[in-house]
Amino acid sequence: MARVNLKSLRGAVVPVVLLAVLEWYARGPGKNSDALAPPTEAAASLVGAVGDGSLLQASFFTLGSAAAGLAVGFVLGVLLGTWLGLSARAGRWGFLTVEVMRPIPSVALIPLAMLVYGFGVRMEASVVAFAVFWPMLVLAQAAARQVDLRLLEVADALRLSPAARLFKIVLPAMVPRLFVALRLGVAIALVVAVTVEIAANPHGLGYAIMLAQQSLDPALMLAWLFWIAVLGYAVNAGALWVQSRVARAMGASV
């Protein structure tokens, strides 16, 4: 038992050593650095941010905006992508539009979104939704095209209604691929949300890290950076957990 625990700690060796080196460097040769701070000070700043409620508030804002944008972008992207994937005619009509819109960098829409919504959740969520929408559309289109022909014949043989065909055959058959899309969407949503906050929106984690940088408080800046990394890891782990739960509920052999 002890041996297993020791082995599982191997992965922690490199980060701990790096932290120790950083601590030594920031307290020694890099004492006057404006960019680096000792990890212990960053930890103290993190505790401070927890204490004054700013950490909770900023996390709430960023995760909330990212989730709202992701939900809109994912649902619309999957619905439209499924349609384009199932109907060859719709696919041909939509092709050019998708290929022209898809490469627009989502952050280039920040000025437009600001004009429309001003600062706040809606502006940020709309940019996230735009960023998430296109990859979701393309992946859903591919997923719909890859639904096993045999299952569609089963639907034909049973004379399923179009709605039953969609909800009982096509969408469930797409679920494994939609989860791949969703996990990609989660990553995009977080990156874009923080980017919007760093670039324009005076709220959330991105704004907090910018503010710390501009107030020449590297300890606080590193604290926010660390916290953003933790949240990113937790969100991805959560998505993986949901994915495996759903896969098991849908009959995948464990």
Binding site: D148, E153, A157, L158, P172, G251, A252, S253
Partner: protein, 259 residues
């Protein structure tokens, strides 16, 4: 034989071309109500296409398929289709009971009535103990039973079976043959059964239809139709030693491409 004079299924000069290639040359064939007809022939002879046309998955290029009085325009719940690749035909995200339920849902059977009917068909195919298992947790034979159960649940008058036991091991195949035979005898289903296994065809069929190996324009695809006059119920041992069985096996052997 049935008293009803209208054939259950009629092929009236059906030929099928797909992508400029002749898949099935003019085929005329009547199948009586309650008859078990096996279609044999080597790979590429068009036997699966014939079956798919009977089920309405493919439209004939010339001629017509009639089910009763009606020309077949598309699939119908009257004619259930059992696919060879049971692994692809079952919904992997539904349990055995859930897969059977799909047929009932398609028919608009109220949710309250479904469990009883699911139990009944699962009992018929011997899967009652596995109702809550997912397809991937079952052996090939059990998966094919599950597909047959789903087909029975739609209460068809006819069953189209496309090499349903072709991918199973010999023991499983024999027990499923016997169960199918019993089930068809009890239910009065009309069965069109495609196989490349001559012995299976003679063992199961009231009639065996042999298709020509290469469809040629102008030359009918049906090469021979023979009645199987072996008194039922059949058994793996005595039927396969019956002189008539051996005679038919000899007579039809070369239609499978053997020389």
């Amino acid at each position: 034989m049935s008293a009803d004079p209208t054939p259950a299924l009629q092929f009236e000069g059906v030929s099928i071309r797909l992508g400029g290639k002749e898949i099935l040359s003019p085929t005329t064939l009547d199948i009586r109500q309650g008859e078990f007809v096996c279609i044999i022939g080597p790979s590429g002879c068009g036997k699966t296409t014939l079956l798919r046309a009977a089920a309405g998955f493919v439209q004939p290029s010339a001629g017509a398929v009639r089910r009763g009085q009606e020309i077949v325009k598309g699939p119908s719940r009257e004619a259930a289709f059992v696919f060879q690749d049971y692994g692809r035909a079952l919904l992997p995200w539904r349990t055995v009971a859930g897969n059977v339920s799909l047929a009932l849902e398609a028919m608009g059977v109220p949710a309250a009535e479904r469990p009883v009917r699911i139990d009944k068909v699962l009992q018929t195919v011997g899967l009652s103990a596995h109702a809550d298992k997912f397809p991937l947790q079952l052996s090939g034979g059990m998966q094919q039973r599950a597909q047959i159960a789903r087909c029975l649940a739609q209460e068809p008058s006819m069953m189209m079976m496309d090499e349903p036991f072709g991918a199973l091991d010999a023991m499983t195949r024999e027990s499923l043959q016997d169960e199918l035979s019993r089930l068809v005898r009890d239910s009065g289903l009309t069965v069109l059964f495609v196989t490349h296994d001559l012995e299976e065809a003679i063992y199961l069929g009231d009639r065996v239809v042999a298709l020509r190996s290469n469809p040629t324009p102008g030359k009918p695809s049906v090469a021979a139709v023979v009645d199987v006059n072996i008194p039922g119920p059949r058994s793996q041992l005595s039927t396969k030693e019956h002189p008539e069985y051996l005679r038919l096996r000899r007579e039809l052997y070369h239609f499978l491409g053997h020389h």
